[in-house]
């Protein structure tokens, strides 16, 4: 693997790094807000992937000037505008759900919510037994 593979594909390496950080955060964190943040990082990595692939070396913005010019492919950029909107909507909805969960459970920690649900379903005896363990 040469320098070109690392520097030349720098954007794509960063896409992978961000994607993994995002996914790991979603999986590993018990805090519901942190999960949403992880999801955001994950989605951002995809935005970068699309934006990078549309770039043409030495190309300018695709604006009609009458002169023949090299320009970047605008389509992936436009696509990703849509995906950004989707991402914002997902984040907003996710956070709104977290607010509702906070109101209903008085916590946004996954394990505490689980414990509250278990206590409700199996009664206090099971919860007490859990505590002893």
């Amino acid at each position: 693997m040469g320098v070109d593979d690392i520097l030349g594909l720098f954007n794509y390496w960063m896409v992978i790094v961000l994607m993994m950080i995002g996914l790991y955060t979603v999986v590993s964190r018990g805090n519901l807000v942190k999960k949403i943040v992880g999801l955001n990082i994950f989605q951002t990595s995809v935005f970068l992937l699309y934006i990078s692939m549309g770039k043409v070396t030495g190309g300018t913005a695709p604006i009609l000037t009458g002169k023949p010019e090299v320009y970047s492919n605008p389509l992936p950029h436009v696509l990703i505008l849509t995906a950004i909107v989707v991402g914002v909507a997902t984040t907003a909805l996710g956070l709104a759900l977290v607010v509702r969960i906070k109101n209903a459970y008085d916590t946004i920690e996954e394990d505490e919510i689980q414990a509250a649900d278990d206590e409700k379903e199996f009664g206090d005896a099971a919860a007490a037994e859990d505590g002893r363990r």
């Binding site: 699309y50 989707v86 997902t90 759900l97 969960i101």
Partner: protein, 494 residues
Amino acid sequence: MIAAHLPILQVVVPLIAAPLSVFCRRGSTAWALTFGVSIAALAISMALLGQVLDRGTLSYELGDWAAPWGIEYRVDAANALVLLIISGISTVVLPYARVSIAHEIEPHNQTLFYTCYLLCLTGLLGMVITGDAFNAFVFLEISSLSTYVLVAMGAKRDRRALTAAYTYLVMGTIGATFFVIGVGLLYMMTGTLNMADLAERIPAIGANRTLVVAFAFIVTGLGLKLALFPMHLWLPNAYAFAPSAVTVFLAATATKAAVYLLLRFLFTIFGTTFPTFEPTLTYLLLPLAVIAMFAASTVAIFQVDIKRMLAYSSIAQLGYMVLGMSFATVTGLTSTILHLFNHALMKGALFMALGAVVMRFGDATIDTMRGLGRVMPWTMAAFVAGGLSLIGMPLTVGFISKWYLVAAALESGLWPIAVLVVASSLLAVIYIWRVVEAAYFDDPPEGVTAGEAPPALLIPTWTLIGANIYFGIDASLTTRVAGEAARVLLGTAS
């Protein structure tokens, strides 16, 4: 004149109605609007299916931009049938929803409920009708985002609806993002997003690592969306805690649209000649489908909440659909598409019957079911009929699905798989029998004052049961369309 614009009207009518319904002051007005739109959507899908069967594939160019530059809507036998399932189920669910939703959701949220419902309908119809890969992602997200809201509206009955919706949101977003990564990689290699165009260019490029990665991302992403075992974890809670009408609608349509997209990508876009096509189907989808059939059915047997039990049963049924497609034969795909249709009918009816129980008793646990055969005879009779269809009794649609699936397995020379299909049906017998036993052989607890469900719930339920039996006896229409769809997908259409 208007007939030429039917493909776009299919999506645009509910899309425009969604913001309009926000302005309705009362839930009943919003309901009337939604119901009207749903009937219109059903009429359009029936007209589209008629046109497709007469004249073959329809293509519609949005804003007259020629494909592959513009977005193309492409209707063939495969998606025309799925469109019919979605709009048909929606039209049957809505009369049921009016009473059930009025009972389960606060009055000030009811108009917003119908707005989200319309958006969900738009998204599902859109992702099925579109011939553009990125457009499919956008509609997929429209339907998913509104679904999360619809599921969370079950919070009035049980606060766990909120956590179920949250989990679904996280998993659903990961699935959809995987899908869009795959689409991006496809665009990178081919420079096109049009599905028909992709189908031509991918074989020309041949074995290429980027394409293989795109394939993997798309199959995984859609697998998450359709709750393919072991990516099904979001489904049981989402179905169990959503409002009853939402459960009926989602169980009958949402995963079906994802199954359709997977079919479209596997068979039309990548095609049977794609290098990873066969290994994926034989070594990944087939075993996962068989495991889903057994694991999910076994888990279903031990559920206390019957809504949850049926949710697990749905995962097993999705296993049958994926199994059918994994044979990659005309009979196999026919069985998948038939089961898309038939499962929508049987699960819709079963969840409707449970919704009636939830409305009367506040929940649907196995304890609640005790003695219900006498308290709610019509509801429970519908549950039994739906259950028989789920098991695969002759004269019901379930039998037709299983028949084709077993035939497909035998045709591919996989007789052990055929045996497994029959064996897994026995597990369905066990979990349906549990409910029947409680409902008919136990006495109702002392002091039950609730009675039969209102006709507004019973009529839609029995409509679906009637469809279960009708299409179980005369399957000529469904098998003809499903067979045609299978041939279109495999590219062997006459």
